[in-house]
Structure formats: C-alpha cells, structure tokens
Symmetry: D3
Subunit: 316 residues, 6 copies
C-alpha cells in the first residue's frame, strides 16, 4: 500500500520544503531519475521541433499552411527563407539528439557532432521533394478513399492521417539518416495530436491512408506496401521479444512487426502481431486478432460475429 | 525502397538550399500539394476558430468557463459582447470556408459570399439556446451514467464527452446551415483533444454520453436517438463505398452509417458498420463486430468470450 | 429533428444579438448550464495546473525537464524554488477545488479551507520522494519492456506511458489526500495528451508500463500490482452500476473495477470488466472481452482467432 | 573607487554562486533592499494595471480602442463587461496598494481592506463619465491647438498628450479617493511611454494640452486652470523642501508647486519653480527659469535671447 | 474643483455598474469621444505596424536585425519573403488609414481605396533602396560624431538616433505618398521609444545625427540639410499659428518651422522657433532660444552664461 | 530633394518585389548596412538581456520584484536558481558581445572567448552585493530627497531614477570588466524606459538621485561623487571632440565630461559641458549652460532670469 492515512498535522512550511529538497537531492534519490550531462548540451527542444515541423509543413504544402497567397514568383522567397531556418534549427536539434545519447552512454565528448549534424540537416532537406511526392500520393488516396472528403485540399488541411503521415515521412528520413531520438519526438508529437502512433522506423509506401486513426499503432520494423488503407484502432505490433544470451536484456532491432503488401485494407480494431505477411489485396475485418500469415486476396473476419438474444436474457 | 544509403558527402550549404528550393518550386513538383487562390482569400484560421469555440463554451456554460462570478445583471454584458465578437469572427471564417471550396472548384469569385456569411453567422447564434438545451441534457446523462462523477458541474468542467459534444453540436448547426469545411475543423479540434471523432453531419439526440471516449468514431450519416450511451473505441462506421457509374469515383453523401435508436448502450471497442439499425434499448457488448440489424431490446456479445489455459501451454 | 430548413431571411444584426442574449440569460435557460458561485471563488485554472505539473516534472526528473545542466550544488536551488512555488500555486488550486464542490452542494462558505489547502499542499510535496521512486521503477520497466527503447532516458523524455503515469502518480496522491476535482483535471490533462485515461483513484504498483497507450482506460477502483504491462486500447472497466434504493441514482464509490495481480500482461484492445481478479502472471490476448476471474498463470485468447477465405468469397 | 582591477582568476562556478547567494541573503545585506510582507499580499501588478488602463481607454473612447465597430445597441455589452472586469481587477490592485503601505509601516493586518477596496473601485467607475467629459475637452484643445492635427480623432488615437492625460485623469481620481501607490504607478506608466511626468495629485482643469511633451514635469501640488497649453520640457516644480522640526526629514504634502491660471501658454523648456502664480493669459517663453509670480497677461521671455558672432570667433 | 469628498457609501455593485454603463452610452456622453465607423473598417493596428517596421528594419540592416547569419545567396530569400509580407500588411494598414480619415469626414465609402493602398505599398517598397542609402549615411555620421561609438555597427544596433531615423525615413516616404495617419503612428512609435519626436513631414538630408536625443522635436515643415547634428532637448518648432478668416480655426499646412542648412550643429536644449533659417555651418549653443535667422558660420550662445556666487549668498 | 511626385502607375506586384530585392541585395547596396558574420555568432539578444536584468532586479530587491513572499529560508533557493540562470544567459550574451566587435574588426575567430565570457559572468555576479549596497543608498537618497515619496519601498517599486540606476550600476560593472556592447545595450534599455541616458562608463558614487529624470544625460567619462542630486533635462556632456593626427577621426576615450563633487545639486535643464569640475556642495540652477569650473559651495543661476511685460507688448 503506497499511502498512509491523511494527517494534517501542523507542518512548518519552510521545514517541510527544506526537508523535501534534501530528500530529493540525496545522491540515492537521484540515481535513476536525474540526467547528468556535461555543460552546454541542452536537451532537445520540443518548441524548436514544433517550429521546424510547422515550417516544413508550409514548405511541403505551400498555400495551405504558412502565407496563403503565394505566387510562382514569391514562392522561392518563402521556401528559401523557411528552409534556411529549418537547416539551422534542425542541425542544432540533431546535435542535441546525439548528445542525449552520448551522455547516456558515457562516451567521450563529441568531436565532429556539430559538423555532422549540419551535413545531415542538409542531406535531409534535399529529400523533401521525395517526401512531398509521397505525401501528394497519400492526399490523393485519402480523397479517393473517404466519401466524406469534398476535395483533396480538405484532407491536407484537416485530416489527422495527413498530419500524422507528414510527421512520419519527415521523421522516417531522419531516422534513416541515423539521427538519434529526434525522429521519435517528431513521431510522438503527431501521436499526441492524432492518436496515431507510427514508429519512425516503419517503411510505408505511397498512397497510404488511415481513416479516423485514433489508436492505430505501427511498429518499428513494419514494412507497408503501396495503396494500403487502415482504420482506427489497428495494431501492427510485435508478438514476443527474444532476450539476449544472458536472458536478461531484450535483443533490440530485430524484425518483429508485420509486412503488409500492396492494396491491403485493415478495419477498425484489428490486431496483427509478429513478423507475419498480409498478402496483397487481403482484407482484415474489424476487431480480429491475427498472428499468422494471411494469403493474398484473403478476407479475414471475426468468427461468428456475434450472438444476439433478447432483453429478458441474463445481464451482460 | 525509398531511401538510399546515408552519405555525408561535403555539401555546400547554399547550393543545397538553392537546389532544393528550385526542385520544390518546379511546376510539376507543386501540382498536387500547392494551394492556388486568388488574393485576399486566406485559409481558415485555427486560432480564430479556437477563440470562437472558447467564447461559445463560455456563453453556453456561464460561470464554468470565462469569468466565474457572473451575476444575473452582468451576464447580459458578457454574453452580448462575446456573441457580437463571435458573429464577426465566425462570419469571417465561414467566408473563408466558402472560398476554400471555391478555389478548389475554380468557381467564379464570390459575389454574395460576405453577406451570406454574416447571415449564416447570425442564424447560427440564434440556435445557441437550442444547443444549450441539448448540452444540458448531455450533462445530466453524463452525471447519471458515471458513478465516478461527483456533480453535473464536474462533467461540464472536465469530461471529454461534454467537450466533444459541445464542439459537435456547434459544428452540426454550421454543417446544417451549409457552411463548408469549418464544421469539420471544429470537429477535428475536439478529435485531437479528446480522441472522439464525430463527423459534423451526424444527427445526435439529447442525453448522449460517451464514457472515456478515446477512439470512438461516429460517421457522417449516423442517426442517433436519445439517451444513448457509448464507451471508448466504439465505431459507428460505413461498410462499403459504392462508386459512381464510371467506377472510379466514390459516390459521396449516401446514407451509409448506422441508425442507433433510443436507449441503446454500446460497450468499448464495438464496431458497427453500414446502414444497419440498432433497435431501441439494445445493448452491444465490447469488441464485437456488427454488420446487421440488431433487434430492439437485444443483447449482443462476443461469441464464446475467451478460452483460458495455463502457463505451461504454448506461447501466445 | 433538431433543425429546421436553413433560411437566410434578412435578419437585423443587433436585433438578433439582443434577442439571443435575452433567451440565453432567461432564468430557465440558465438552470442546468450556469455556475452560481459566491464572489472570489474562481474556477480551478487549467493554466495554473499545467504550470504546477510542469514544475513537478522538472523536480521529479531533474536535467530531463527544466534547466538541463544542473549540478549537485545548484540542484537544491532549483528544486527549492520550484517546490516553494508549487506549494503556493497548488494550495490555491486545491482551495478552488473545495469551493467548486461547496458551491454545488450549497454548503456554507468555507472557514478553514485555506489553511487546510496549504496543509494538504505541504503534505503532498513530502510525498514526492515516494512518487519519484515509483516513477523510476516505471522508467526501468518501460526500458526493459520495449525493444524500441534505446535508453531509460528516452522513455522519460518522450514516452506517453511515463507522461501519463507522472500525472497519475501525482493525481493519485492528491486524490488520496481528499482533494476535490483537481486530481481529475490532472488526469484528464494526460488523457488529452496521451489518450491514456487513468482515474486518479486507481491504485497502481511499481514497474508499470503501458505501451503506445492510446485508448487504454483504467477505472476508479482498479487495483494493479507490480510489474504489470498493458498495451493500447485496453479497458479495465466496470460492468454494471448498481442503483440506490430509490432506483434512480447510481451508488457511487463501490469497488467495481478489476484487480490485476503482479506480472500480468494485457494485450491491445482487451476489455476486462467488473470486480474480477486477473491472477498473477496471467496473459490476456488482444481484443478479448473478460468478465470473469482469470487464474494465475493462465493465457486467455480470442476463441478461434479468425477465419480466412479467398477474394472470390462474398463481400465483407 | 568602486571597482578593483579585472582579474579573471580561475573561479569555481558552483563556489562563486553559493558564496554570492550567502552574501546576498545575509541579514545585513538584505536590510534596506528586501521587502518583508506577510503571506498572500502580493505586490501590485504592472500587468494587471496595464490591462485595467487599456480597458478603461476603450471604455472612454469606444471605437478608437477596443473593438472598432460598436453600434448603439452593442455598446452597453462591451462597456458593461469591461467595467465589471475593471472593478474586479482594480479592487484587487487597490487592496494590494493598501498592503504595500501597511507592510512598510508595520501596521496590523487589514481588517476592512478588501471591502474598502471594492467600494473605492465602484466609486471610481462612477466618476468615469466625468473623466470622459474632461478628456473630450482635452481632445478638442489638442485639435484646436496643433496645426499638424488633421482631426480630433487623430489626437485620440496617437497623441502622447491624450495618452498621458488619460492616465492622469484616471490616476487623479484614484489619488483623490485615497488609494495608495496605484495612482503613482499609473502615472509612471504614462511617463515611461510619453516622457510626460504628471504627479497624480496635480489638479488640471479642462481643455489641457501638452504639445510633444517629452520631459514635461507637473508636480504633486500644482493647480492648473482651464485652457492651458504647455510644450515639451516644461517643469512645474518645487523650489525648496522645508524640513521638519528635527531638521532631518522633509515635511511632506505642503503646497509647493505653481498655480497656473486659465489660458496660460508655457513654451518648451521653461522651468517654473515654487508656489508661484502664473496669472491668467500669461505667456512664458522657452527656456526661461521662473521663481516668482507672473502677472495676468504678461509675456515672459529669456533676457536678450542670444548673441550671435561669426565663425572666426572663439570656440564654443 | 473636479472631485467631491470621498464617501464610501454602501453601493450596490450591479447597480453602480448598470448605472455607469447607461451614463457612458447616453448619446450626449458619447458625442466627442466615440468613433463611428461603418462595418469592416477597423482602426489601424499598432501591432501590425510594429511588425511591419520590425521587418523593414531587418530588410534595411540585414544581419543586424532578423536572422544574423545571412549569406549572399540566402539574402534574397529573406528579403523577398519579408517584403512580400510587408506589402500585404502595409497595404491593409494604409487602407485603414484612409478609412480613418474618411469616417471622420463623412465621405462616401471608398471605391478605389483598396487598390490604391496596394499601389502605394508597392511604390513604397521600391523606395527602400533610397531609404537605406540615407540611413547608411546617418550611420556613418553617428560613428564619426560620437567618441563613445566603437563601430558603425554599434550605432545601428543600439543608438536611439538610428532607431528614430529609421522610423522617420520610412514614415516620411509614406507621408509623401499621401498616406493618412499611418506615418504619424510610425513616428510616434519611435517617439515613445526614444523620446525623439520627428514629424513625418519634415525633410531631412543625409548624414543626420541626434546625440542622446531625448526631448528633441522636429516640426512638420522643417527642412534640414546634410551633415546636421542635434543634441537632446533641441526644439525646431513653430512660433505662432495663424488662424483662418473666420478667426476660429488654425490654418493648417503652412511652412512654420525652421530651415536648417548643411553642417549646422545645435546643442542640447536649444529652442528654435518659426520659419527662420539657420545658415550653413552655424553652431547654436545649449539652452538658447532663437526666433530669428542665424547667419552662415555664426555661433550663437546664451548671453552671459551664468553668474556664480558663494553659498553664503541667498537661497536659490 | 529626395522624393519625386507620387505616381500610382500600374505596377506589377511580383515585378516590383523582385526588382526591389535585387536592388537591395546588390553588393554595393549592402556595403554599409549589412552585417557579415561567420556562422554561429548570433547578435546579442535584447530579449535575453531583458530577462537577465529582470532576474537581477529580483535578486537585488527580493520581495519587490519576483515572488513577493520570500522567507529567510526560501530566499537562497530563489537567489541561487536565479543567479545560476543569470550566469548562463549572461555568459552567452557577453560572448556575443565579443563576437559583435570581432566581426567588425575582422579578427580571427575567438579561441578563448567562451571560457572568458563565463569567467567574466562569474566575476560579475560576485560584485552584486556591492551593487546592492550602492542601490540601497540610492533608494534612501530618493526617499530623503522627494517630498512626494511615501516610503523607500515606493521609490524601489516605481521611481525611474532607481530603475535607471539599477541598469547603470549593473552595466557599469560589465563595462569595467571589459565587456563589449552589452553594457551599452543595458543602458539604452533604461534610456528607452525612463528617458535617462547614462553611459555605462560613468562613475557614480553612492546616494545618487535623479528626480523625474526625462532627458538627463550623463556622459562616458563623468565622475560623480556621493550624495549628488540631478533633475530632469540635465546634461553632463562633452564640449568638443579632438581629432587624431590625421584630422579625420575622433580620438576616442579621452576624459571629456564633467567631474561633479559630493553634495552637488543640479536643477532641471542645466547643461554642463567639458572636463570641468563642479565643486563640492555647489548648486546649479535650471536651464543654465556651464562650460567652466564651479567653485565648491557656489550657486549658479541664469543671469537675470527673465523679463516680464504685458499682453499689449509685441508678439513673442
């Protein structure tokens, strides 16, 4: 039992404060919870990354985000100044990401971290045309797939799927370039906003759409083909985690999430676990739990969907 | 495979930047992702709509939101000034909503858009007494239905269900008045905050309550009676989307979501798809998947809920 | 049917406004929706509580949040000033919480509310070392249990589970100290951010981890042992709500949620309802619906996971 | 000589910090510079007063400040809600002003301070119609007196004189109602913005105008008639400060500043010191120094304005 | 006497409020103080103009303001996007300026105001190269003329003179283009910040410098040559204001301020009034009052600067 | 004549923009106005310095600024955390100050700048006890010298003199420690707020007071004794600036401003120029212009203060 009975004994304010500070700063108390870094290596900044992603969104979808009346001649001005600022801000955050990991692993202070961070940031922005191409295909897929969508622009402007995929496709590039922790933070920003949790490591092909999306989870080693559609509450997860020889630590990085081939649809609440393959064109029904391969073209549904009886039946 | 191997070749910063800008602003690159509008028709503003909804919340629940010590004599001052400002801000956003669609459809510049926007905003505020009446019934339902609620006021102040329904009932009126995209944005604001995704088109009767709510989805053409209660992760969705004669475009706007009659309860994770009818007083158990009508008074549960075996059994 | 046909009759703006204000401030219109308080008892402030929780997060995880380069000698400065400010802000909010309930129940104006609020705030901060100890165990559990986690620090910095548990473990202490509504608000703040909905009343032992988390619900009277792991979309809920003798009001406060013993794992989308016991070491598979006790060490899975057939089969 | 030679000896950061904190918190070091108050009596808030004055400006000049398109029917809404909020905010600040002085004089804790503060705030807002009447006369005087002014509205919207007089006429009412320190702060806010320093105690009649205004000073016991015009850099100050019988403390509150009768003009840089009377219609030239009475209708100029000689003359 | 004796009669709060609102909104009470405009013509926005001037400062002095590490290749991006935004924001404010005057003069609603506003804004930005050239000469003059200045850059970054002249040279162009009220507001922004009050109408040649500057006033019709230096507290004002034939209104717009030829220096506190000419190279001493022409090369000083006597002399 | 006649020729917006950008970024156009720095040496930040000075004000006057209810036991927490943050922020700004100058002088990139900056910041905070001692004496002098002051605390809380002296005494220490440009910026911050312009180089003894203050200027090489009182508009300036042997550049850094001995009073608008000495206890009257030594105990007034004549006399 964690708590004792509430007692409102007369406590001296200053004493209570001083005593609590002492207990919280005792070496033991601090061990697992405190971050020890050398000077001048601040934590990654959520605010800065929010600004970066906001600027990139305006670069990827000009006119939808950022200034709305860009012309062909003014567009280079806006994109150029935004990207220049992105490079600077992002290089700084990438560097902080390296240091975050360094500190944990007690490595020596970085020697080439700063120059490496800028090189990565430059490499990254050169991939933006590719990212836009993929997102444009996602936009079209969202419009094609949702009868409630009135125009592709509407899906850009307010669909959680496009928001989550924008963050993911950016984070995935950074992940691929070996950036530490920053991709994860960018993914979690979208997770918090949309309820869609995509690990930056997941490979996702073009024309991808997640309708509604809340609660959908896509694991680190997933490989998803093109033209795949998911609904809310779908899990593409791992089934079990092998441990290392000592038996005490998880082996990290192994392929352990599903492969989803082209043209698959997975309905709300379905759970697919482990390195299984969902064959091309398969359809997975809602709320089913899949831990084996599914053949191309198959349709999988919950066995005997439900039993129905009348009110005079027993309580639920 | 989207990415190539990470190479950190020495890139000239300015060159990388200039080159990327050129590629992103090339006519082709821009086609699907850029918004072209005529001047002076800015995008709808999330900030303005957030302010509008915040003011309306204070108008609908005086004393709970906005200034807390309103008296009978000062209340008209606060409501009057708030509503006057709402009309102005909202008319502006409604107009932007029209333009958003116009631009997409290459219609001629609006002639009566501005006056129409203000007329709609005025019509809208006159429906607020009705909206409040409905929300008051929702508040009572939340209090009656949740043993954890200590007072109706608590549900107003911090229940996600009331927050999502406030946005929905406002957005639904705007949707009904033919406003473009703005209702959807208001709905998505609540979706992002609460994880509850209600399409503004859905008809929802009084005394509606969604407990916990995360992941619940209510589709565009749903019709929900009175005194209905849902839990988290419930889907009231569409089953299939008929395409038009050409076979290539979805037919939009057809009734395709469930009808839920009075006094129905639907437990967590249930998925109900298509234009089926859940009869009055029916109870749908958790995690079931329903694609047929359910009789009034029926109780539907997952077939043979589970099998249980001991640890020495095979791995999951 | 709620709405009438949209008519855009020429409405006089000022008249529409004045008329709506009159209808909204009519005594009847206000009954259920307005908060009546005596002067100088403002509502709890979300902004202030956000600041409090932010400061406490920096106190619990120094270096991760707040200033990043704290040394052993400067740490007392930061923790001391933060906690002093927390006591002041929190005592104020605790008092507002009491008044929120008072007002509802028409009790007499508080006499000892203020001094009681400060005593509670002081008692609360003295429990922070305990809260940190529990959270440190949760951090280790998250790292041990997720192959995608590269370091314990990463889970502190960006895992929704740690964020939700930080709020919960703080809110739970306040709940236990008899604070009104404030714990619930702190819980809802995390719910909105992470999609994880934990009632402040729930008892949760050390080494607790919720992977992904969106849509997971943990009810008020849950009792969870140590080393328990949940996934997204898990519900630990109530099955039915007994009403009082009059038959019209719920009996509040009864134990009605599951007991989950040590070392249990519950996979995505599982729903466990009622005061059942999930025995030590049991594993609950995804998407199952459990309303009975589960033996220690048992593994529970969805009966006949799915049926698979080929595309030429009937439509879903 | 205050400083020693700069030495950049190797100082341990934490030691320097800890040592400085110790020296600054030593009882002696703190004596003259620290404010000791009992709990819950915070300092007056500059932010709150800025908000109060901003709202009052919008109440006094509707349409110029605050929302710009107020109609006859919506104006009561805006003024009513603004004044209600002003009463609350201002009463709080007035109370803090009393406490500020209490604390200094070691008086017993206030007993009726709160109720007195609200009574004063209510009395104060009832004087606003009078304040507006005076300011309207000042606006007309500014327009009549400045050939550069294109409309009376321009002087309301951007003349420092009207800004300073708005603050003064408000502060003067509070001063007259016995409010401590708050009037002075309101006066200093205008001083900082405009360079015009008017003590809240000064009596100023209608149709007052200060052109340009920077550096003009009007002392506590000044009495200024109607239709008076000043320019920048004018001082209406005190000449000498009699001390009390002990010879060590100034006698405070005695009339010691000029009386300026109706229709007087005082040009840039003039200095008028002591309880002298500048008679009706007198004109005081620029840069003169006056310490005696000036007759009605007199014109006072610098004696022999200047001598002029050529460049071959000695240096200045 | 404006005020009555302070009485703290028991006033009913709501009554006092309602009554004051009624008095302040009575038609008579409102006459001189309220702004009546037709809809959709909001007041000029100080915030928008502050943003405009801030962006222009970064355009005029790249690297000093705005992003600090601009290269030759990124500079066009930053200047282009800033100027595009300036044109939009400024055109809007220019239009509001026209409306401000319109409203006052009861003119018909604008027909070409919007297109005229944008044309003016475009014309304006094309004059920025000229404005920069002039400011660059001012910067050099400030550095050459102040022994305390360590570099020209220091004067750009923190000298009030450069700040005031930046605003002036921008405002002067707008004034010259016939923009209403906006130039004056821009001038007053600098006046409030620096204490330097330059009317936008004043013509000022290159290499102008005002040392310290507080209290210096330069009137609407001043003409100042090149290489002129002023100090704080200098007035270049008007002597008398002729009235029109009716004798009741000032004739506006006549030349009434000094002409200051090239290479003149005017020391602190000097007052020069009327359409007099200060000849080339003249030097005006501190605190003198000049109302006649001064010959080229002349040196003007206060007659018999002071008398000095010892303490045993009479009091001041 | 700078401007041509306003013509509103039809200008193409994009063309005007592109053309102006080209002209402003041409190498010639940029020469004098652009700042060229190497990467990662941003300009000093006004926001950061504002935060630093705000924190130092709270450290120097605890309870007046910052949290108001500090106790003896909590004070070290607040001062410690504030000073730790000051050291970090200030060291960063000091370093930027060095770079600002470096860049101008084309020096090699700093080698020891960062460590030197931190050493200086540490040295600086160790002088804060001395700074507080001086400011405490200034507070007492302000209270003793102004009959309008009701308590010493009032002068701390709202007198411009104390505000300006706080900034000055801090800036003076930094100036003395050889910090570039930062002290000047801190001085200008106070200048903008109060109209009091004190160069950081000026030596000012204890018990210094400037009443009202607007327009007062104290030059770089001034030496002011103890117990000196100034009024608004007083200039302690330089008379002439000797040039170097080439005759083209000012010799910088020579003593050129007045020495003011103990117990001197200087009234409003007086101008004292050059390296003259105002002897102990001297009194300088308003508006006089002094360029020679003044004997101890002397009283200096304007010669024949004014002439007075009646209205029938000629116009001014």
């Amino acid at each position: 039992m964690i708590e004792d009975t509430p007692v409102f004994a007369k406590i001296d304010r200053d004493e209570a404060l001083t005593d609590t500070v002492a207990r919280l700063t005792a070496p033991d108390a601090c061990q697992a919870a405190c971050h020890r870094i050398s000077r001048d290596q601040p934590m990654p900044s959520l605010d800065a990354l929010t600004e970066v992603v906001g600027m990139l969104r305006a670069v990827l979808f000009p006119g939808f985000f950022g200034p709305s009346d860009i012309s062909d001649r003014t567009m280079p001005f806006y994109l150029g100044s935004a990207l220049d600022r992105v490079v600077k801000l992002l290089a700084e955050q990438i560097n902080r990401g390296y240091c975050f990991v360094c500190a944990k692993e007690n490595r020596n202070p970085c020697t080439d971290c700063e120059s490496r961070s800028e090189a990565v940031a430059l490499e990254f922005i050169q991939r933006l045309p590719l990212v836009r191409e993929l997102l444009a295909s996602d936009v079209q897929a969202a419009f094609d797939g949702d009868p409630a969508a009135k125009s592709p622009g509407e899906t850009i402007f307010c669909y959680p799927s496009i928001k989550a995929l924008t963050n993911h496709r950016l984070a995935h590039q950074l992940h691929h370039l070996g950036v530490d922790i920053i991709p994860r933070i960018i993914g979690e920003m979208a997770h918090s906003d949309t309820g869609i949790d995509i690990h930056p490591g997941a490979h996702i092909g073009p024309r991808f759409f997640i309708d509604h999306g809340t609660g959908t989870v896509i694991g680190e080693t997933c490989v998803i083909g093109q033209n795949v559609r998911l609904y809310q509450g779908v899990t593409l997860g791992a089934k079990s985690f092998p441990k290392d020889d000592t038996g005490s630590r998880l082996v990290k990085g192994l392929p352990r999430h599903p492969i989803v081939e082209d043209d698959v649809t997975i309905y709300a609440g379905a759970t697919i676990l482990g390195r299984v393959t969902i064959g091309q064109g398969a359809v997975i029904g809602g709320n089913v739990w899949v831990t084996q391969d599914v053949s191309p073209g198959a349709r999988v549904t919950q066995a005997r969907a439900f039993e129905q009886f009348f009110l005079e039946g027993a309580g639920i």
